[in-house]
């Protein structure tokens, strides 16, 4: 066996970052990115100090949706497999957590990891037949899965676990006493449940985001992208297509499933109606609008799916002077928004940012 000699003197280009050459408004791009990342992280930490109640709840939901969208991005954006059925995995995660809390009396925070495992297995298993389906047909199969999900959740055979049509009401996730006492000693106030839920969500979300980041920028991530770009030559490079594609499905389901777990904990209630086809659509819309092969795009996507119905509401109610009961038109406005977004940002927000950076940057 021959081996390439690495004789210590590594070529200079290896350690240079092509982004170093891009300067945006006088600041090198990598620095700008680092500052941006820092600001983002700081925001995640600072938010619960500033906000409480509904506001912090909304921020938590954005992070929750971000995770769900991220899950779909890993599959669709990085691996090129469509799914219109991720509401199913969202449901599996949420119900896993709920059943563990409700039936087994497990504390909420212990349910995340087992729920993630369950979702991974579920995704992996669905990924196996999905291996043989091409893009459009996979979209169709997953579409069917999404439509069938609420019905499956209601099925009498498992109703004693899922609560059937009634759903499950969960216990409030109070913060652990030690955290509460730390917060108390610093601020002199009790830590509100809303703030704690946010902190818990943010903790999980940041860890999962970092994991996704590592995954994408690694051997595994390269393999996933290679499969998307050119499956045949990926195979020739020694990439086990079946293993990677199914695992990608599993990991994707796991991310969306953990989002489901967090959802259950956050809303303290879940019912089959929470996991309809509309939910799967939300994730897809979030993914495409954020930028389907972008991790940071998922943050924007999470925000978008949470806020765009509100914006549609707002637009609708501002029509009240001209039309009777304009609220019936929210669906229409929502649709127009989507089309508009696709026109303006065909590559999603991430793509738009890239183009903008390209426009206003100067190369050294």
């Amino acid at each position: 066996m021959t081996s390439t000699q690495v004789n210590g003197n590594v070529p200079a280009f290896l350690n240079e970052n092509p982004k170093d050459r891009i300067v945006v408004l006088g600041v090198p791009l990598p620095l700008l990115e680092r500052v941006g990342l820092f600001v983002l992280l700081a925001a995640v930490v600072v938010l619960p100090m500033v906000y409480d109640g509904y506001d912090i709840y909304e921020f938590g939901k954005i992070l929750m949706y971000m995770l769900a969208v991220l899950g779909l991005n890993l599959l669709t954006g990085f691996n090129g497999q469509f799914s219109l059925g991720h509401s199913a995995f969202f449901a599996v995660g949420a119900y896993s957590t709920a059943i563990m809390m409700d039936q087994l009396g497990m504390p909420y925070w212990t349910t995340i990891i087992p729920a993630a495992a369950v979702c991974f297995v579920a995704g992996f298993l669905f990924g196996l037949p999905a291996l043989r389906l091409d893009g459009l047909f996979l979209a169709l199969a997953t579409f069917a899965l999404a439509i069938a999900t609420p019905q499956l959740l209601k099925y009498d055979g498992i109703a004693h676990l899922t609560g059937g049509v009634q759903g499950i009401v969960l216990d409030t996730p109070y913060p652990p006493a030690w955290i509460d006492s730390i917060v108390m000693s610093i601020t002199g106030e009790e830590l509100s449940v809303d703030r704690w839920k946010y902190m818990f969500t943010a903790f999980v979300a940041v860890i999962m985001f970092a994991g996704a980041w590592n995954l994408v920028h690694s051997r595994t991530g390269r393999a996933l992208i290679a499969i998307r770009d050119n499956p045949l030559s990926a195979k020739t490079m020694g990439i086990n297509l079946a293993m990677f594609k199914s695992s990608a499905f599993g990991v994707s389901a796991m991310y969306t499933g953990v989002a489901g777990s967090l959802f259950a904990i956050m809303d303290e209630y879940l019912a089959p109606e929470s996991f309809t086809f509309a939910e799967a659509i939300k994730f897809l819309v979030g993914g495409v609008v954020g930028g389907i092969a972008s991790l940071f795009g998922a943050i924007f996507g999470g925000w978008f799916v949470l806020e765009i119905p509100n914006i549609a509401d707002l637009v609708a109610s501002s029509l009240a002077d001209y039309i009777n009961n304009p609220q019936g038109l929210t669906g229409l406005i929502y649709g127009l928004f989507l089309i508009f977004t696709v026109y303006v940002m065909p590559m999603g927000a991430a793509g738009l940012v890239q183009i903008l950076v390209h426009r206003i940057s100067t190369k050294r």
Binding site: T2, S3, T4, V6, P18, R222, N230, S233, K235, T236
Partner: protein, 256 residues
């Protein structure tokens, strides 16, 4: 028949009623360059696809280092030491040159979903080693300037070299090259010839070269196999094959 690093024995491939390969046999001596020539549609690419296990022959056997490769799934072929380049570029178009070459090193690395997501220390060491090794290859093939460029936008000839680098990244003992000279001008061609010979001499890699450019094939090959209509029509040194009347009739043409 002497044994070599690769033995192709009586390989037959049929698509529906069409016979694409009809009992082709030859042997590749270790550390040599073997040229495979034949007209378009003669079955060269089909044979290639058999060697990289993208197709399974209907009949016959292919042995690499004495062991059949027909039991191995396609993604193991890189593992056991066979690398290849494609006739119509098959690069990962959204990735940079460096990343493409690093994918080439996939089979030589081991990290998985879990270790990658957690960024375990050994994985980072492996990644760094792969980066360095890939960089060395990129340097070796003179692609340093474009290492961080997305391959999709590179000129054809450059992409061909990226393919070569990518194939070498798996540290193959046998390298299958499908029309590497296509689209190269004559300076580049000469360089390519040198590179292939270097790969043989410095790295001890055995090369199977499918090429239309007779100048290249005849000048660097140690042995040439000619096929037509899915059958081997000639085998021998470049001179022998070049002068084989059958080859002239079917391939080189009377005018040549």
């Amino acid at each position: 028949m002497s044994t070599g690093i690769l033995e192709v024995e009586d390989v037959q491939v049929r698509f529906g009623g069409i016979v694409a390969l009809d009992g082709v046999s030859f042997t590749m001596p270790e550390g040599k360059i073997v040229g495979l020539i034949g007209p378009n549609g003669a079955g060269k690419t089909t044979l290639f696809n058999c060697l990289s296990r993208l197709y399974i022959p209907n009949d016959g056997d292919i042995r690499f280092k004495g062991k059949t490769i027909l039991d191995s799934p396609p993604h193991h072929i890189a593992d056991i030491g066979i690398g290849r380049t494609f006739q119509n570029l098959a690069l990962f178009s959204t990735m940079t040159v460096l990343e493409n070459v690093m994918v080439g090193g996939h089979s030589a690395t081991r990290s998985d979903f879990m270790s990658n997501a957690l960024r375990l220390p050994w994985r980072r060491r492996e990644e760094q080693a792969l980066r360095e090794r890939s960089a060395a290859l990129i340097d070796y093939l003179g692609l340093g300037d474009v290492a961080h460029t997305t391959v999709g936008g590179l000129p054809f000839g450059t992409q061909k070299r990226v393919e070569l680098a990518r194939a070498l990244a798996s540290e193959p003992e046998l390298l299958l090259m499908d029309e590497p000279a296509g689209g190269l001008n004559h300076d580049e061609l000469e360089e390519l010839g040198n590179v292939i010979q270097q790969i043989r001499d410095e790295r001890g890699v055995t090369v199977l070269l499918v090429e239309h450019h007779m100048g290249l094939v005849m000048s660097i090959s140690d042995k040439v196999v000619a096929i037509d209509f899915g059958k081997k029509i000639s085998e021998g040194t470049p001179e022998e094959v070049q002068n084989d009347p059958e080859v002239i009739r079917a391939y080189l043409g009377t005018g040549g």
